[in-house]
């Protein structure tokens, strides 16, 4: 989309009024999933819009306490032909997870020794994060789309690790323990009112405990209506290639991939 050129002969006090029939406010809804054109009662929300919001908040609150369905996830990942291993962070339950992010970033010691070594490999970690719905639904599809692209780059892919009660940085701890060259952390993003099913992907070169957010690249909003698994995989492959050439991820790796594909067709 481009904004059309200004019509000639403006009066300097704002653009001239088009002769066409007045536009309806509700037409704005065609262009966005955001809560536009809600109407107005005084300065408040009309009752229906208010209760729509309350319902969405109730759904999101419940989703925070959802966990990964391991049997279903492992069944969805099995066709990829990669070994699977399951680990957990040091957070013992959901309340501890919410209040102690430091525990969610650290691998449970009992799991450390059980991790397969994968020196120099590309590692996928699939993790629940703040809401497991999105990673459950889209994680396997993202990996499936990314595998041929990564192999095309000559990258060896490590066993897939599934992690519970995980924060983003847990991927660095796992990647460090396995000796991976790069880790892609696929993790459920915190649920919003409109998107309960959003998956985030965080890429760290030379992962190890103690890496900061500035040393990662992020692809967010992987979900229906956002980035598709295929688009996320293409971006992941582009970033991986750039990270291997640069020898790092994070703010030094500027995402300069052409982005036309991000936009729906005009």
């Amino acid at each position: 989309m481009t904004v059309p050129p200004a019509p000639p002969g403006g009066d300097g006090a704002g653009p001239p009024t088009p002769a066409a029939a007045p536009a309806r406010w509700t037409e704005l809804r065609r262009f966005t999933a955001a809560r536009v054109a809600l109407g107005r009662v005084g300065n408040g929300l009309p009752t229906a819009a208010h209760l729509d919001f309350q319902e969405a908040h109730a759904r999101a609150r419940d989703a925070v306490h959802s966990g990964l369905d391991h049997a279903a996830l492992e069944a969805d990942l099995a066709p990829l032909g990669l070994p699977l291993a399951r680990v957990a962070s040091q957070a013992p339950d959901r309340r501890a997870y919410l209040l102690r992010p430091d525990l969610g970033r650290r691998l449970r010691e009992a799991d450390r020794a059980r991790l397969p070594a994968a020196p120099g490999a590309f590692l996928f970690v699939v993790a629940d994060g703040l809401c497991a719905t999105g990673v459950q639904a889209q994680g396997p599809a993202v990996i499936a789309a990314a595998l041929p692209l990564l192999r095309g780059l000559g990258v060896e892919v490590a066993p897939i690790i599934i992690a519970d009660q995980a924060r983003v940085a847990l991927g660095d701890d796992i990647g460090g323990a396995m000796g991976a060259a790069i880790v892609a952390m696929l993790i459920g993003e915190r649920p919003g009112l409109t998107a309960l099913d959003s998956l985030g992907l965080y890429l760290t070169y030379a992962p190890r405990r103690g890496r900061t957010d500035a040393e990662r690249n992020c692809i967010s909003n992987i979900r229906p209506g956002g980035l598709s698994p295929g688009q996320a995989a293409e971006k992941l492959a582009w970033l991986t290639n750039a990270a291997m050439q640069l020898g790092e991820t994070g703010v030094a790796l500027k995402d300069e991939q052409p982005t036309a594909f991000l936009l729906p067709p005009a």
Partner: protein, 458 residues
Amino acid sequence: MAFVQAVGGTRYVFPDLRTLLARATPLRSGDVLAGVAAETALERVAAQRALAELPLRHFLAEAVVPYEADEVTRLIQDRHDAAAFAPVAHLTVGGLRDWLLGDAATSEALAALAPGLTPEMAAAVSKICRLQDLVAIAAKCRVTTRFRNTIGLPGRLSIRLQPNDPVDDPRGVAAAILDGLLLGAGDAVIGVNPATDNIDNTIRLLELLDAVRDRYAIPTQSCVLAHVTTSLLAIERGAPVDLVFQSIGGTEGVNRSFGVSLALLREAREGALSLRRGSIGDNVMYFETGQGSALSAEAHHGCDQQTIEARAYAVAREFQPLLVNSVVGFIGPEYLFDGKQITRAGLEDHFCGKLLGLPMGVDVCYTNHAEADQDDMDALLTLLGVAGVTYIMGVPGADDVMLAYQSTSFHDGLYLRAALGKRPAPEFEAWMERMGIEAASGAGELPGRMAPALVGLS
């Protein structure tokens, strides 16, 4: 230096200033997480009593983060204005609270005092204030900034229009902008958080925002809230950058975790100034902050999160920003557990920012994993309005569909202005009248001058 306080027959010892400040802080989950919170309610009061008796001069002698190790501490100490400090130099922290509440602390006196206060002094006094003190004192502070309009005048409340889109779709962004303009938002800035921090995408969004602003002839400024290095690249490539945005924190380490330093921020400000895009002023920076970011980056140096947050305001004021806001409830329940903690933190952040001379707004917000809801936001919003908050956010229906959290809606802005008799920035208010926006609001038809087709929505 150790501080000793006896309360109820128990003797409490606080080994240094940072510990005293931390133990005196009203309860919040982030300080418990950091292991710096008071163990009992009585220990907290003991620390508050000891803090109240501490001379303000002590803050110039003892740093909470070592001078040698931290460029933010060096900035705070090197920039301290002893002449501005003189009127309160004889006071204790408790004495400062009394002075701030008293008649001597006029708007003019508070503005003159700002460069004489360090962030730690502001944080300290806030810890012994109730909410009504935080409101009453902040309401006396006046901070005015300018770019294409005037932000922060008495009786005004500005709104950042936040038209985020999950995939940076220009049509989605434009539709949310139009919705917000029609509901009186956008005088603080029209500011988009990009879904992906990508240079081409950032430039595309910058061009879109500039075209919309130009087409409707809006006296406001735009911003794409990309990383400062992306904005610098956009400036190099000739993109229309009004304000340069950056998230900042209160220690060198947290800023490093954000990928910035004071030198980089200085470079960014010079880049934005070189474009000379402000028509009536040259406040070109926009900063966001929030309690808990330093601990999240493991760069808090054993300090409580509110003291570190106040130190971020010293970073901000070095660069004469147009806008600064705490994103108070965004970070999550591990730092601010529930509505009560978010409310107090929002008022503390606004108070400290204003006291230190910043054009302070607040993103009144919460995430879905915090124990908070719309009722909590209504209460904080109203309190901040009474406190004279410079601006709030405006998000369609309070639901940010990209960042997945709830902020304030365009309707919330209308409510607050109406409830408190506040108006938009004067230039923007006159523009709304010219465009027929106020007369049209509530009806289903859009004023002709605001036709969606003018910005490509047809």
